[in-house]
């Protein structure tokens, strides 16, 4: 038995060598079949992988394209040159070829009654082979969802798109790649200028146990700020950006509008302090300079959709600066662009929205608001100025308790308010006539992304037939599509959920409890069926018209 197996293996090695010489796709299938059996082959495979990796590294230094194909070529033994799609196809066929011989090989193996251990070994060998083939695929940039590496790739290969990296936090390889990317970004900003200072944006490490459903997201602790890892007189990152990042991570600047405005303010400081290096053009160099700052801010707190749109706008404006502009002129133009953006998209938009919204508020209304939305507060204050008679019910939720701030601002103006926690929403709703909600972002499929708890309020309001009006400026419209709150969200510091009463903290050492996880979600997603109207500065539109607005905006630009 052993002899025959040994003979088989030697035969298989002969097949592989043969295949390497000839370069036939049929022999490829044989290789894959051979790979399924026996651990010795995986050792060879590992050796080959090591060689390939070395060659890939060399290849990266010289020329990315063709030399990278070389190891892939070696592996698949295909004819060279312009064969990238072919190699890709071959590589893709390889796992499908795997599934075929797998089914073939499992039949005889069942019949030959192999032990459980040997089956496990086969499976392991198969997985190693697939992982190896995937690694080779990753360089040419083909599609391989690494977060689903456990599932058989052959089934998912054709349909699955690559998940963005900020979502795959549970995969260590992706995290390492992100760290490298952050390092690379800083070097890329220098280009050909003479005094190159290596800027490294530190990677913030995750904190505490993450609930498994959200393990693909980052969870940071407020007690470990990112400034711990950078030098104190912030030279590599502009001081106003460091200050902004700190204010984001500590929650001093919170709320979609406030964050965007603060970001634009910081960018104004950066632009004012910027000076073009000798051989560079302002249009290109400034954009490169902004990249590490944006990475830094992202590490402090994930960027919001409004911030993302503001950044896109600024980058577009910078790259559209004509090259004959002198530095002073260019800077002045940029600063005025930023000011006009804030003015149009935030200040004037708020005015426009409140005009439309006030039409919807009639005397004797009881308006329910949730949390602290700067826009909704603005609307209510304006309505009160215009002598509308209404009262407000402010709904609040832990751990942020932002409703207290909304309550303070409304009461300061003289509006009659009631304050409840979200658990009392269904008791309070019978007397409510309208619900006004703010939004963090409006997604392209009409879903509303807002503070966690908003979807609950919308649901209960729908059940009581109370109209739900969402107020949102158009600059918060986002091209993303999401149907649930799991796939993309933000995890806040879990220690915020811990309550200390009379000096006693029961959850002080929650990390030592193995079966306990604390989850502090920040956003959730409300489906458009629960939202009756979206009030924007372009008018009052139904939720499903959001993609139309986006399309119109893109056409304009």
């Amino acid at each position: 038995m052993a002899d025959s197996e040994g003979n088989e293996r030697s035969k298989q090695t002969a097949i592989i060598n043969h295949a390497a010489d000839e370069g036939d796709e049929k022999s490829l299938a044989e290789i894959q079949k051979a790979k399924n059996e026996g651990k010795e082959l995986t050792k060879e495979e590992k050796l080959r992988l090591r060689k390939e990796k070395k060659q890939q590294k060399k290849g990266k230094k010289d020329d990315k394209g063709p030399t990278e194909k070389a190891p892939v070529k070696e592996k698949t033994a295909n004819p060279p040159a312009s064969s990238q799609p072919v190699t890709q196809n071959a590589a893709q066929k390889a796992p499908s070829a795997v599934s075929v011989p797998v089914s073939e090989s499992t039949a005889p193996t069942d019949k030959s009654a192999k032990s459980k251990a040997e089956l496990k070994a086969e499976r392991r060998a198969r997985q190693e082979a697939e992982r190896a083939s995937k690694q080779a695929k990753k360089e040419p940039g083909s599609q391989a969802p690494s977060s689903k590496s456990k599932a058989p790739p052959s089934e998912l290969q054709p349909a699955v798109k690559r998940l963005p990296e900020h979502i795959q936090v549970d995969d260590p390889a992706v995290v390492r790649k992100l760290a490298k990317k952050l390092e690379r970004q800083q070097k890329s900003g220098q280009g050909t200028s003479l005094n190159v200072s290596r800027v490294k944006i530190p990677l913030r490490s995750d904190y505490g146990y993450k609930v498994s459903l959200f393990s693909h997201l980052h969870q940071y602790s407020r007690k470990a700020p990112l400034t711990q890892q950078i030098s104190i007189p912030a030279t590599v990152i502009h001081p106003s950006i460091v200050r902004l990042g700190l204010q984001y991570s500590q929650g001093i600047v919170a709320g979609s509008n406030a964050r965007s405005v603060a970001l634009l303010h910081a960018f104004k400081q950066v632009i004012q302090d910027y000076s073009t290096p000798p051989n560079e053009e302002l249009a290109r160099d400034l954009v490169n300079k902004l990249k590490p700052y944006i990475s830094f801010l992202n590490q402090c707190r994930p960027l919001s959709a409004s911030m993302g749109n503001a950044i896109k706008y600024i980058k577009k404006e910078i790259s559209n600066i004509p090259s004959q502009y002198k530095e002073e002129e260019a800077k002045k133009k940029l600063l005025s662009c930023v000011d006009s953006y804030v003015n149009e998209k935030i200040t004037l938009a708020a005015k426009g929205i409140s005009k439309y919204a006030i039409d919807k508020i009639s005397d004797g209304d009881v308006i329910l608001v949730y949390g602290c939305s700067s826009l909704v507060n603005h609307i209510l204050c304006e309505a009160f100025e215009k002598q509308r008679k209404f009262r407000v019910i402010v709904v609040d939720s832990r751990p942020r308790l932002e409703g207290r701030e909304a309550l303070r601002r409304l009461v300061n103006r003289g509006i009659r308010c009631t304050y409840v926690l979200i658990s009392a929403v269904s008791y309070v709703l019978p007397e409510v006539s309208k619900v006004f909600l703010g939004a963090h972002a409006l997604l392209a499929n009409g879903y509303v992304m807002s503070r966690v708890g908003t979807s609950q309020i919308a649901l209960v309001a729908k059940a009581y037939n109370v109209p739900v009006l969402v107020c949102c400026e158009t600059y918060k419209f986002c091209e993303r599509v999401q149907t649930d709150s799991f796939v993309s969200n933000e995890l806040d510091d879990p220690d915020d959920l811990i309550v200390t009463r009379k000096g006693k903290t029961h959850l002080a050492d929650w990390q030592s409890e193995t079966s306990l996880g604390l989850l502090n979600l920040v956003y959730d997603v409300t489906p458009p069926d629960f939202v009756d109207l979206v009030i924007t500065e372009l008018g009052m539109i139904p939720c499903t018209s959001v993609p139309v607005v986006l399309r119109v905006k893109n056409v304009d630009q």
Partner: protein, 443 residues
Amino acid sequence: MELQAVLMAAGGGSRMMDLTYNTPKPLLPVGNRPLIWYPLNLLERAGFEEVIVITTKEVQKALSTDQRLKLDVKMKLNVECIQEDADMGTADALRHIQQKLKTDILVVSCDLITDVALHEVVDLFRAHNATLSMLMSKCTSSRRRVPVKKAEREQRDFVGVDSAGKRLLFMANEADLDEGLIIKKSVMRKHPRMHIRTGLLDAHLYCLKRSVVDFLVENKSISSLRGELVPFLVRKQFSKTSISRREEDHSDQSQKRKDATAALDEALLQLASERSCWNDHSGDMSEAYHGGRLRCYAHIMQEGTCYRVNTLTSYVEANRVAPKLFEEAAVHPSAVISERSQVGGDSIIGASCHIADKTSIKRSTIGASTIVKEKVKITNSIIMNSVTIEEGCNIQGSVICNNAVIGRGADIKYCLVGSGQRIEAEAERTNDVIVGSDQLMEI
């Protein structure tokens, strides 16, 4: 540039004249390194590349010429000299160098030995846009017997912080108070919960805004940072016609050229804070920070080391603790230690020392070029550079300064032997301060 570091090294060490009458305080050896090395190392580790050092000519000369002083810092030291007899306070010194100060400043004193994470102090300064941010530490009292001339009772400092422990609400020294603590009602209304602490050590590490320097230039009456400026700023947080108005005037004057842009920036910042749903307190109807423009914060270290070497007690304490802060070879490679001597693990031997046979050195610091002859027992002591200790001596809990000579068979317990002094053979001194006769009249 965000912060400029200023190191105050011109102080005279008035509370330990016995040690400092010959050696200026920044050059006193602690763990065989000059005292000034510790704050410089702290700044270097934090990432500073340039430091402005305010010191006397003597110290500057010593730093640049003396090879024995291990000052291997990679930062650029921008040394500013002031006259030693000018009796300048720390605020006066800042006024002196105000031309060099272009951004917000971080003021450190040369006698600070600490391993604090500096970002804690600076983060408070940045995040809350504070005018002042300082470092304080919970004092640890030492129980050891140290050579003291007379009982030195420190005047207590009363520090009031808010319930979160970050915002400074009240600061006064016992010397300034007549009968009792007076706390204004406006402070109590805004911050109903205040913790007043007395056991805190002020580390003399301040982050100050640039406008404070301008204010100092205007008000020449303030001469000390610690004694006058800081309590003034803490008080002015809550006054109606606050310094912030005056600061605004200054900033307006200096920015008249960039008037429009500055105003627009301010407006943006104002808009951001209006739209932000954050408040630093809850329960009353006022906005974040109660609308005050001037804010003072303090970071109180709960654990870790923080020493200010300004008295003899703290000097001895620091000598014991400082070497543990930095991993360094306890025994300098160039020291010659004979085989039959016992050198304890927590002792530090400086360069070019000669330790003869049958000596026992425990928990002590021996400076450079010191000669220790046979059968000497040194415990819990600090021996500075170029000291000669003859045979058979027994030194316990003492401080022997530079160039001293201890005669044969002397028994020194808890004494302070001044610089260049000679102790005759077979002398027995306990709890004594042996200094030169010309120093005896210093009071």
